[in-house]
């Protein structure tokens, strides 16, 4: 290892002091889920790791069986968050999203 401080597993997390009233938990709750899948559009976002497409293909078939519409999307690379325009497209076209498959 080098003589500089390197960020590795076990490196100290960076700490920020909370500026809020702390009345809310530090974690934001997730959105309410859908009431049903029938008639809803579910987006399947493939993160482009091996075998994820097969996995999502099967989820697509099963989702269609329960009446959902399915749209497929693919990230250019799993190493970064999805590009903004892709996220926007998904947000506009879908009622809910499944992202897979991280290994």
């Amino acid at each position: 290892m080098s003589t500089s401080h390197s960020t590795n597993a076990g490196a100290p997390a960076r700490i920020l002091v909370d500026p809020t009233s702390e009345r809310e938990p530090a974690s934001k709750p997730r959105l309410p889920r859908l009431a049903t899948l029938a008639g809803k559009t579910v987006g399947l976002l493939d993160i482009s790791k091996a075998r994820g497409d097969i996995f999502l293909g099967r989820l697509e078939a099963r989702l269609r069986e329960v009446g959902a519409e399915v749209k497929r999307y693919t990230k250019p690379t799993f190493t970064k968050p999805a590009p903004v325009d892709l996220r926007h497209e998904i947000a506009v076209e879908c009622d809910a999203v499944v992202e897979a498959l991280a290994d």
Partner: protein, 481 residues
């Protein structure tokens, strides 16, 4: 990790080790060798008997490891004159030889071997260590960021931002900010609406860091928070209104110079750190501590750019008149901040008038249109007279009171002009007032301040939100350091 009060390391070569680390075991003979040739101090994290034969210093409480940011063991540090010069993590023959200046180390060992995690980073120890050693003065919850997380994005994601980037409020920065006041960090400054949260000096400091303030600005921010949270100022009402108004801060007194505020060219614009960050810090406190955010309690139809922060200093030195603070009852020479519930500033342009009466009439004609020419009495106004305009009044010997008095006279409006339906305009005052003359501003509703550059025949008017008991009254607060 706060470096503010950390215990010093001894000079020479310092090593941090733990027994429960294969690399530390492997380098124990190297350390024994070094001990014969240089001044060596070894801190042990888990076993005072390790390494054998070296009389290690007991750091099982991990105080030294914590304060000196030991990420891995073994760590080797060269200390000269009480300062760290160089450090090496893990075993690496070349690095260790270079650092210690000793040749032929670790004969028979591989060239390098990675270290193990320091106990001071163990997940089950970290919280306790932080509470014990780090930023002990601060009581706020700590937010931990993931390794790869960008701290600027993280703050946006958590909803702390007003739309612009924030300075990350590390413990170190917050502690430094608290150095700007003598007040205790846990002192309650105010109960902040709309959530009615008791806000400590510490919480103000955190938001002041994020806003980009320097510690010497903190007393102004503290005074402003106190002022806006008074019943008279009615911050909740001001926040919740659909009108485009927000807190406007006017600073008077010696503090202006002391912290480098701008009262001259572009006084209401961008470019001055104190002006820009102090107003912003107040806004962030209301947002983050009080819970007052656009789209939630803040219902402004359009808002105005000043809601990001609108703070400026009066030009007292160039003014022909007494400062705004003295108008409002403060003792001359005191540092104060006056809070006015105002909209964005509007220009009053008069490049021709050379006599005070003509200029006063220009002012009145413009002031008449505040919010709407047919709406009277209900709104106050902060009139910022520019130096070139002020000189017109000065040369004619008009005091501020005289100017204000004349403006009130000129702004008497007959009912026939201002009632609903008059002029073919449905808006206006109730019809039963049609035979009465009313002033545009209630007595005391027109405040005058002096600022701006010496070139430019302009003044500025800042319209107020609803005045009086139902709305907001301007509040002046002394600034204590």
């Amino acid at each position: 990790m706060s470096e503010i009060e950390r215990p010093p390391l001894p000079n020479g070569i310092v090593a941090f080790v733990k027994r429960d680390c294969p690399t530390c075991e492997v380098v124990a003979p190297v350390l024994r060798d070094l001990a014969k040739r240089v001044a060596l101090t070894v801190y042990t994290q888990d076993d005072v008997a390790f390494p054998e034969g070296l009389e290690p210093v007991d750091d099982r409480a991990l105080e030294m490891s914590w304060h000196w940011g030991i990420d891995a063991v073994p760590t080797l540090i060269r200390v000269e004159a009480g300062e760290e010069r160089e450090r090496a993590l893990g075993w690496n023959r070349e690095e260790w030889q270079q650092l210690t200046g000793v040749e032929a180390l670790g004969d028979g060992l591989p060239d390098w071997r990675p270290g193990c995690g320091s106990l001071s980073l163990a997940p089950d120890r970290v919280d306790e260590l932080r509470a014990r050693f780090g930023g002990g003065v601060l009581r706020s919850r700590r937010i931990e960021l993931a390794d790869l997380e960008d701290e600027y994005e993280a703050m946006f994601e958590r909803g702390w931002s007003d739309g612009l980037p924030l300075v990350p409020p590390t413990e170190q920065r917050v502690l430094a900010m608290l150095g700007g006041t003598k007040r205790a960090p846990d002192e309650i400054v105010a109960i902040v609406p709309p959530d009615l949260v008791p806000c400590t000096v510490e919480k103000v400091a955190v938001n002041a860091v994020m806003a980009g303030c320097k510690p010497e600005y903190l007393p102004v921010v503290l005074a402003a928070v106190t002022a806006v949270c008074t019943d008279e100022f009615n911050m909740h009402g001001l926040l919740a209104t659909t009108m485009p108004t927000g807190p406007v801060l006017v600073v008077n007194g010696p503090i202006r110079r002391a912290i480098g505020m701008n009262s001259g060219m572009n006084v209401m614009g961008q470019g001055n750190r104190a002006n820009s960050s102090i107003g912003r810090a107040l806004q962030l406190v209301v947002r983050n501590v009080g819970g007052g955010r656009p789209g939630e309690v803040d219902r402004a139809t359009h808002g105005n750019p000043g809601k990001l922060g609108f703070c400026f200093a009066e030009d007292e030195e160039g003014s022909p008149w007494q400062p705004l603070s003295v108008d409002l009852g403060a003792e001359p020479g005191r540092s104060t901040v006056t809070l006015f519930p105002g909209e964005g500033p509007r220009n009053i342009m008069d490049q021709i008038s050379r006599d005070p009466e003509s200029l006063a009439r220009s002012f009145a004609a413009c002031l008449r249109t505040l919010h709407h020419p047919k709406l009277l009495i209900a709104f106050d106004c902060l009139l910022a007279v520019g130096p070139e305009h002020a000189r017109v009044f000065e040369q004619a010997g008009w005091s501020k009171a005289q100017l204000i008095g004349r403006l009130h006279e000129l702004l008497q409006v007959p009912g026939s002009e201002f009632v609903r339906g008059a002029g073919g305009i449905a808006e206006g005052m109730p019809e039963q007032l049609k035979d009465v003359a009313l002033p545009k501003f209630k007595p005391g509703g027109l405040l005058v301040v002096h600022c701006g550059s010496g070139a430019g025949l302009f003044s500025m008017m800042i319209g107020g939100w609803v005045a009086g008991d139902l709305g907001s009254k301007p509040v002046i607060q002394e600034i204590e350091s």
